[in-house]
């Protein structure tokens, strides 16, 4: 339905950005975690996680097809998180012989979490969230106005 679709679209943006914030929080919380997963009987450090966003509902093919058929309106949809990806970038090596997970040479592998990147991501997610709230409020006040027709 046309009227309430814009609410759903804004809500999908809110959900996606909240998840982004959750992932950023998890990355920051685990910035020093050396024992995240057991691989072949050995502990491996935590790996930075990132969120992959896609337009929800429509595949690129369907979108193109609908546009070509003149039903361009069908391409309007919100956003969804398609998956949470692991960053396979190199882990940082730190010299700390007293660390319980240090190797024979005294080096310890730490997660590839960069706090600066995480903060930038957090800011971006916060701003997008706010933008979606603004859009939602705009839609709400518009439709409240529509309810007053004829009064």
């Amino acid at each position: 339905m046309t009227l309430f679709n814009s609410f759903n679209i804004s809500a999908s943006g809110l959900t996606a950005n909240r998840l982004r914030m959750d992932v950023v929080s998890a990355n920051i919380a685990n910035a020093e975690t050396t024992r995240a997963r057991m691989v072949d009987g050995e502990w491996t450090p935590y790996r930075r996680k990132t969120v992959e966003l896609t337009q929800s509902g429509v595949s690129p093919f369907e979108q193109k097809l609908q546009t070509m058929m003149g039903n361009g309106n069908k391409g309007i949809s919100g956003v969804s998180v398609s998956r949470i990806k692991e960053d396979n970038g190199p882990l940082t090596l730190n010299y700390d012989p007293s660390h319980p997970d240090a190797d024979d040479n005294g080096y310890v592998q730490l997660p590839n979490v960069d706090p600066i990147k995480e903060m930038v991501d957090l800011m971006s997610a916060t701003r997008s969230y706010e933008a979606n709230v603004t859009a939602l409020n705009a839609s709400k006040s518009m439709f409240m106005k529509a309810l007053e027709i004829g009064k």
């Binding site: 814009s6 966003l53 361009g72 309007i76 949809s77 956003v79 859009a135 705009a138 518009m142």
Partner: protein
Amino acid sequence: MNLISPTIQSLEQALSTSALKQQTHTANIANVDTPGYKSKQVDFETALKNAAGKQALTSYKTDSKHISFSNESFDPRVTVNENSVHKINGNNVDMDVEMAELAKNQLHYNAVTDRISGKFRSLSSVISGGR
């Protein structure tokens, strides 16, 4: 005789176009971080021109009992802005433009609802004989 003036129908079409516009802007804002997303917009002017063209199309009547064409449904098109790149990930949503358009659309919607209310008020004034 036309008790309910056709203006109300036109205003109604303006409202639904405005609602569709609202939808495209919210979708653009929701997808501001989606890689490869291309911004969409409602081509209001073309839609208006089409609607005006349709109204000029009158039925040919050979008998007074023939029914005239109903107002053809108003069909605003959503166009995709494929040609510009705004960010490195192929997304071309310009947040400032979207926010400005959102505010503009909101005011436009309010103006149209106000006018519909005005139309209804004058109608009820006529019904009550000006009292």
